[in-house]
Amino acid sequence: MSNTGLELTRFEKRVRRLRATQGAAMGASIGGLAVVAWALADRFGSAYVTWPAATAVVGGLTLAGAAAGWFWRVSPLDLARSIDRRAGLKNRLGTAMSTPESAWADAQRADAERKLEGLDPQTVFPWSGNRVLTGALCALILAGGAYAWARSDFGMSAAEKQERAELASRAEEVRRVAKEGLENTPRELSAMEKDLRTDIESFAKELERGKLDREQALVKANELAKQAETAAQDRFSAAGRDLDEAGETLREAQGRAIEAAGLKKEQVEDLNLDSNQKELLGRLMEAEKFENPPSRFNEQTKQAAGMQNADDRLLNMSDSQRQQLQQRLQQQMNQLQQQMQSGGMTPEQRQQIEQRQQQLQMTPEQRQALEQAMQNPAAAQDPAVREQLEQMAQQPDVSPAMKEALEALMNNQALQDAAQEMMREALEQGNLNPQVMEQLAEQLQQQGAPTPEQQQQMQQQLEQMQQLMQGLQNSQAAQQALQQMMNNPEMQEAMRAMSELRQAQQQMQQGGQMSQEQQQQLQQSIEQAIEGLDPQTQAQLQRQMQGALQQMMAGQANRETIQQLMNAVGMPQQNANGPGGQRDPNGKLNLRDTPVEPGGQGVRTGVTGERRELDGTEQSIEVRAPAKLGQGPSVPYEQVLPQYRQNADKAVSGNKVPKQHRERVKKYFDSLQKKP
């Protein structure tokens, strides 16, 4: 098939131009309608439209439509056929495009070309998109109108307009706060802070377009406050981790110093006594009539040296005391060792004697049979009872009296007094021959070695004594090392700075704030702390302490941001317990009982009565806050009272208020009504 010889490019371009224009117009129409829908959704609160976004939608769809129109494929054959139809060429071009090469085809093509020469593309493909253009124009006008309508307060009451304006100004303030606190800040934001920034921005948008009423705004602000507090706590925890690392670094440095002072880590561990060792030490000191020595080293130094768990008595006792205690301890150890080694009986012999003792014991079945026979002599004739009694009588070591009594029982004769007495004694003592049992016990007492349990116990005692002895021996070196550390100013400075930082971190974690002066002071402390330390420790501590301080400042910045945000929405934070209001003793935000006023102090409302003591007992959150920052309520009191009164009456009469509170509600509204 040949499609050469016909120059249709100019027609193709014309078609593409027309299609691009029409595509753009259609895109603009669709975009315009989308903006209309968007604006409607905005007006009714389910979306938010801004002019850049609306313009982007319309522009994007217009461009997309134009591109689609331009790049839409134009088939040469279709183009030829279309020109044939439009220019009345009676299928010349279409035939020329699809006729195989031949003399006749050449003539035909020449004829087609001749006809084509005089054709103007604009005449063949005239502009025919006026309807589309008009539609696009209408859609754009409609979109503009809808956007303006959505953004305007047309159709709103004066109060709604005022509230919207107020919310818009609040939104502006919220946005400013977010910008200052979370955007224009040199610190790197955490993921949580980025989320917070996004949420605040979204909150500002909702405020701006009036999608939240006052109460919802305050609740939302409280949620953001919680979020900010979590972010702040996150920062404080991170500061804590940095400080832990710094502490570890410091401890390592101190460990090196301790080792330099001649004390090894294992020796330090010997100073950590367990309760038995402490008790042993106490008994020794008591025996020597020593009192607990006064403390010579502070806790920081001990902690730095890793001796925070060491027994204070070991660290503080004098050399002479130590020597005396060591001597006494040595004596006790010797005695114990001798005791452990005494005794000539082998364990096998001992076991045989114990088995013999067990054999002499009366079994529970025998005891039961005997009791039955004593209570009812006729029961002795029972085969089971009789069997037990016979076994007892046949035991080799049973006493003769006992044997006689058993035989009398079995023969169903009248019991003799002696036999009865004998049996009673046997029952009370639990054995069949008390004399033999006593002999065996005596033999064990006099000749037997300690039992395995006693042996083990004595071994433990000996070990404890040995450890205590180690502690006593190491205590002198520990005292010297601690003394050296007490005399090292650099280490002391570092410990002091660590302590200050730790204290500040803990305070902030509990809701405290750090002033500018405190920040500077901590900064100086850090700088002073690392002076004089070895370079490696210096660099690590600098990084870790500075990191902790930065985290604390970031946490505080989060709190300040949310403080400003709360101010912006008319819900100032009045104390240092964290944003969003007061906190309960557990640190939880208390949204219910936080009546606030612009002055920053909580106020008493007219409601008196029981507080809700438990979280989660109510179905809604009661937020009490001033209507405006620094102002009174925006709606006059007299205007709202009747409506409120009516609603309250409805609630009372509809059993929505608990019985015990109904009278209180009535009294409250009565009291309000009297005031005007």
Binding site: V15, R81, N91, R92, M97, A103
Partner: protein
């Protein structure tokens, strides 16, 4: 100048000359004359339907004279026998005392055969034309006799007098390339006819072409290319006459019993090509098909009883089909 251009030009000029020559005798009736010439160039037989005295016979005779072709006229009557047309075998002396059967040619052995009032003959006689029209030959006594080339049947029929007529069978109708309705002349034309035929001056017809020219005309027609979309249009027209085809119009579905045969599509395209050449073009156009549609399709459609009851004609059906085809034939580019 290439061969295609030359051939097309010669075609147009030749046919123009013939038409001019015929026009010297026949006043008006342009469409009829054009239709007959298209049939001639396309090699198709033409059925002329019209009232007596409208110059049908004169037209065919004039055409024969202008082309220098043999001409024969057969007046069809109910007692006309097939042998009267095709010829018969007669007993003939051989001169040596013996006799033999010899074939005597009938009037069909000519180039232009005018079958006047063809519907007056019995179907048996009408059918005698079937072989001749399609095969260009006749078989008599078991012997096949080839007809001259070109061979063209121009039949006429009177649509009014139904008594004593035998409507042409469908098979025979289908063999007619064109069915042309000869209408009554206009006032001016009628005046011209009267003037020409009642005066002393008689127009003399000159031969402007010959047998070979006619054959060449037919070969040139076959050269005209057909674009695919044009071909599809032609097929749509033919299929549109079939009540059970998707292309069928509402009228077709309601009134048509049988649609056009494939010969209809062949005739449509061939006639279109002739129209295109006469228009000075080298290609077949949709317009050519539209022009050929009525004469090609009207006699190939068999209407049902409902159509007869409602007075619906074949022409109306064809026009409906054309309308539908036009509606379906959309611009391939949406701009």
């Amino acid at each position: 100048m290439n061969t295609g251009v030359e051939a097309a030009t010669w075609f147009r000029e030749t046919l123009g000359r013939v038409r001019e020559e015929v026009g010297r005798v026949i006043a008006g009736q342009d469409d009829v004359v054009e239709g007959v010439l298209v049939g001639l160039a396309a090699g198709g037989h033409v059925l002329l339907e019209g009232m007596p005295g409208l110059g049908k016979t004169l037209l065919v005779r004039t055409l024969g004279e202008a082309l220098g072709l043999g001409f024969a006229r057969v007046q069809f009557t109910p007692d006309l026998m097939p042998a009267d047309i095709t010829g018969t075998q007669i007993l003939q002396d051989t001169g040596d005392g013996r006799r033999e059967l010899a074939f005597r040619r009938g009037p069909i052995f000519t180039n232009l055969l005018l079958a006047d009032e063809i519907n007056r003959a019995t179907p048996k006689t009408q059918s005698a034309l079937l072989e001749a029209m399609q095969e260009r030959s006749v078989t008599v006594g078991g012997e096949r006799h080839q007809l001259d080339d070109p061979f063209l049947v121009m039949a006429t029929q009177n649509p009014v007098e139904q008594e004593g007529t035998y409507p042409l069978p469908e098979a025979q109708l289908d063999r007619f390339f064109f069915k042309i309705q000869v209408g009554f002349p206009s006032r001016d034309t009628l005046g011209e006819i009267v003037k020409r035929t009642t005066g002393t001056a008689q127009a003399e017809v000159k031969q402007v072409a010959n047998k070979e020219d006619v054959l060449r005309l037919r070969s040139i027609v076959r050269e005209v290319p057909v674009a695919e979309d044009v071909m599809q249009y032609a097929l749509s027209l033919v299929l549109g006459t079939h009540p059970d085809a998707p292309e069928a119009s509402d009228d077709t579905k309601k009134y048509v019993r049988y649609g056009s045969s494939p010969r209809g599509a062949q005739a449509l395209v061939t006639a279109g090509k002739v129209y295109a050449l006469m228009d000075g073009r080298y290609n077949l156009a949709v317009d050519d098909l539209k022009k050929a549609a009525l004469p090609v399709l009207r006699h190939r459609i068999l209407l049902n009883f409902e159509a007869e009851a409602d007075g619906v004609s074949e022409d109306r059906i064809v026009k409906g089909v054309l309308l539908d085809a036009d509606l379906r034939d959309k611009d391939p580019l949406r701009v």
